[in-house]
């Protein structure tokens, strides 16, 4: 049973316009509204450049929207906070810190590290990083780096976890293995997860629902509830039906990018 969580995220008509150095404006997010509660895992899929990362950055407090409101636990988002963890598209580990120190970074920055040494070791074991504590980022594989980046966020017990294509750079097998870790972590701690991904299979495997965004300007144009029981079987009929659902919704709106994507990860029907 998933741990109960009382957190909530409410986005209402969130709009983000970028202005370039010549003053011309680019509407990236157009009135995006979304409400997530409890311990839901919500997938966000959409063509490249539609503003998925931009949305996550707004929720993380790293950027400011021009219009609309963003409420986390009922309070407006004003800046970054460790309760809203963000895992980047690239692992973004600190090169000068060992895996252990990277994972302990947040605790140390918040001055709560003392007495938590065991917790760090525990997360290292849980994320399958045992034996690599003393390695520097250049000494570990891409998969290990993703695991370390996830552990670095999970160890802070965030109520909201923002995952921006955390596994996109990995091979299929590593990706599947880490997907299991993510599910395990979610069961253990329970939190809202927002997962941006280009991999439809990943979205359906992990999420409770999948949000579909339009090409820029990004709008939410659909939502598919994935009510399949866990553990999910990737080649099961119901799973493939969901895949086709998401795929059809996307291909209706999408340009070449998606077709490229599907060439890379062909459906196993």
């Amino acid at each position: 049973m998933v741990n109960a969580s009382k957190h909530s995220l409410l986005a209402q008509d969130v709009t983000r316009i970028f202005t370039n150095q010549f003053g011309s404006e680019l509407l990236v997010l157009d009135k995006v509204s979304l409400s997530v509660k409890g311990s839901e895992i919500v997938g966000i899929v959409g063509p490249s450049g539609c503003g998925k990362s931009t949305f996550l950055r707004l929720v993380a407090g790293l950027d400011k929207q021009q219009g609309g409101t963003l409420l986390y636990d009922g309070a407006p988002v004003t800046g970054p906070h460790y309760d809203r963890g963000l895992v980047f598209q690239s692992a973004a580990l600190f090169d000068w810190l060992t895996v252990y120190e990277n994972i302990a970074f947040g605790l140390k920055a918040r001055k709560v590290f003392k007495g938590q040494e065991n917790k760090v070791s525990e997360y290292i074991e849980m994320m399958g990083l045992g034996g690599f504590e003393k390695s520097y980022p250049y000494q570990i594989s891409g998969g290990m780096a993703s695991r370390a980046a996830l552990a670095r966020t999970f160890i802070q017990d965030p109520g909201l976890v923002l995952l921006d294509e955390p596994l996109s750079a990995l091979d299929a097998f590593t990706r599947m293995a880490i997907q299991e870790e993510i599910i395990r972590m979610h069961r253990l701690k329970g939190a809202i997860y927002l997962l941006v991904t280009h991999d439809i299979e990943e979205a359906i495997y992990l999420c409770d629902r999948v949000i579909i965004m339009s090409p820029r300007p990004g709008r939410i144009i659909g939502e598919i509830i994935i009510d399949l029981p866990h553990p999910r079987d990737r080649v099961d009929d119901a799973f493939i039906v969901k895949r086709r659902d998401v795929f059809d919704r996307l291909s209706g709106v999408v340009t070449e990018e998606l077709t490229m994507e599907e060439v890379q990860y062909p459906m196993r029907v």
Binding site: F88, F94, D95, W96, F105, A109, R110, P137, T153
Partner: protein, 338 residues
């Protein structure tokens, strides 16, 4: 051209020894410098001098003899310790050539008089500086080291502070960058007359020059590196709960360490010429001053031996800095080797 198999490897005279005990082949290679020393010593003692020296000539043979003893001690250890052996095997060819060249110089000067005095003194004459003018040389060495190290310390500390301020705060950058851009690139020697005029003592002027030589590249490298800190890392730290101060000290600063070392290497090389300029143009002590003084008297032997001391200091300082850097930057791959 290097064969492809050699790319990325450190150049070595012989392959890295793997066994604990030295092999016969390795011992033969280790003995090369010994042969060089013995040849030099033998020729030096056997051949007659062309002109009778005004002093007891002994410095050259003494030096060779001491070198022989030290080398033999090291060699015995090298037979049992593979790491030391690797280093010595690497050096053996170079040392052999060094001693042979030294003896060639001895023959060209003291033994035949082919090379012209006083500009090319015999090795014996040059080395005799160390035995006959030990006290003056020692005093000059201490004065130079004191000036150099104090200046470097001042330059590094001020460079660290101003680099940090300029990298982090726009306001500091606005006010300090004109200073940096205008006075930074001016070479040390050009400062000396001004520094002497404005500083209370010539010693203080020398300190100013050396500190400046270190301060400029240090500040430049550190401030630009802090300003260019990877934005992703800063954001990653922010979402993990880092405050501004924590970000500066635990993200911007460590990620700038490679740049700091680059700045320090540049500063160190600059500081050597600043030291020379200071001591030749104002400061009345130190090795640079001693060189000028010896040159004035046409004592080229002393000039060369003092230059030799300089080289040893510079080599040691640069090597030390490389060692510190290799330790501090062990998280970086692909460092430049020294």
């Amino acid at each position: 051209m290097m064969p492809a198999s050699q790319l990325g490897k450190q150049t070595r005279f012989l392959p890295m020894p793997s066994r604990r005990m030295a092999t016969l082949r390795e011992v033969v290679f280790l003995l090369l410098p010994v042969a060089g020393i013995l040849i030099a010593l033998g020729l030096h003692l056997a051949l007659p001098d062309v002109y009778p020296p005004q002093y007891e000539p002994s410095a050259y043979s003494l030096t060779l003899f001491v070198c022989l003893l030290i080398y033999l001690v090291f060699m015995i250890f090298a037979c049992f310790f593979p790491k030391l052996r690797a280093v010595m095997l690497h050096l053996s060819g170079l040392l052999l050539v060094l001693f042979l060249l030294l003896e060639a110089l001895d023959i060209g000067t003291l033994k035949t008089g082919i090379l012209r005095l006083p500009f090319i003194p015999s090795p014996d004459k040059t080395l005799s500086t160390f035995t006959t003018h030990t006290a003056e040389l020692g005093k000059s060495l201490l004065a130079s080291l004191q000036l150099l190290l104090t200046g470097l310390a001042i330059g590094s500390v001020t460079g660290f502070i101003s680099g940090l301020l300029m990298g982090w705060s726009r306001l500091c950058s606005y006010w300090l960058s004109p200073v940096l851009k205008i006075i930074g690139p001016v070479p040390g020697a050009a400062w000396m007359p001004i520094a002497v005029a404005f500083m209370p003592t010539s010693h203080a002027a020398g300190l100013f020059l050396i500190a400046l030589a270190m301060w400029f590249p240090f500040t430049l490298m550190l401030s630009s590196s802090i300003r260019d800190t990877d934005k992703r890392l800063i954001e990653a730290a922010r979402v993990l709960g880092a405050s501004d101060a924590y970000l500066l000290l635990h993200v911007a600063l460590p990620s700038s360490l490679p740049a700091i070392f680059t700045g320090m290497f540049m500063g160190l090389s600059n500081s050597f010429s600043a030291l020379m300029a200071a001591e030749m143009l104002g400061v009345k002590a130190g090795l640079g001053w001693y060189i000028t003084w010896a040159q004035g008297w046409g004592e080229y032997g002393r000039v060369y031996s003092t230059v030799g001391v300089f080289i040893i200091i510079f080599f040691t300082l640069i090597t030390l800095l490389f060692k510190v850097r290799d330790h501090v930057l062990k998280w970086q791959k692909g460092l430049i080797r020294w």
